[in-house]
Symmetry: C2
């Protein structure tokens, strides 16, 4: 069952619900060009990294540990990129940012999952990639595989 | 005076020493295309975000608060990007990453500082920019301005 915040958070287009903690919600990001890419959004509406509360940092640090472990187990990820950017909110006339993190698994190798091949051609670099179209069914399987490894 | 770790950390090319805390060192990044861009490096040699100790997270969270405050005061920054990427280490045959954060101030407006104009033409987006050549003298003035506002 999804938390009460998810409907609101969904309006930001962060993706599909995977799990929640006391202060954060983990989503499977819309763009799966890098398999397992997630968005981790703060439950309360707050728009910058400074001023985040100690308990929110502490909770986030545990998510970092759990997600890196789970994704490595699930898809043999090589390493991870983390980013708190918030740029797109500032393209609006009246920016009203909502704090969230980008979690991007990076791969030295191809990953075959459910008959689809995922690649990371810019491994070692940060370059935007076009959205990889992944069916709803496959997104559910990616989420299930992550949850299976999420301790 | 620089800490004993800085000489080693300097070999990674993180930039010029600004300040240190118990667990982290703050450098002025080599590339100042976005004025005030910093690198925050962990003092111990460790290569990923998962497994970072609670006291290291807590110390980092205070740096986030202090740096966002200081840069806003110093250069009227609009908002900030934070990233823990570690990509370039993985271009080596034997990756031996050293944990560090990128702190990138973003501006809706031009900033005039010591006779130089700094711009952020891709505000609202994450796009790599070529290195902006800044003299050693100017780098020292940028550092002094940041330190003046670093509480």
């Amino acid at each position: 069952m999804e938390c009460s915040y998810c409907q609101k958070l969904k309006s930001y287009g962060y993706g599909d619900f995977i799990a929640e903690t006391e202060y954060w919600v983990i989503f499977l990001a819309p763009n799966q060009s890098n398999l397992g890419t997630c968005v981790i959004a703060l439950k309360r509406h707050y728009g910058k990294l400074s001023g985040l509360k100690p308990e929110e940092w502490s909770d986030f640090s545990k998510i970092v540990d759990r997600l890196e472990y789970a994704l490595k187990k699930a898809f043999d990820v090589t390493m991870f990129n983390w980013g708190c950017l918030l740029n797109s909110f500032y393209l609006e006339d009246q920016p009203n940012p909502h704090l969230h993190w980008h979690f991007i698994p990076r791969y030295t190798h191809k990953v075959h999952f459910e008959g689809i091949v995922f690649e990371d051609p810019y491994f070692g670099y940060m370059r935007p990639r076009p959205v990889k179209n992944v069916s709803t069914k496959l997104r559910k399987k990616i989420i299930a595989k992550i949850k299976e490894n999420l301790k």
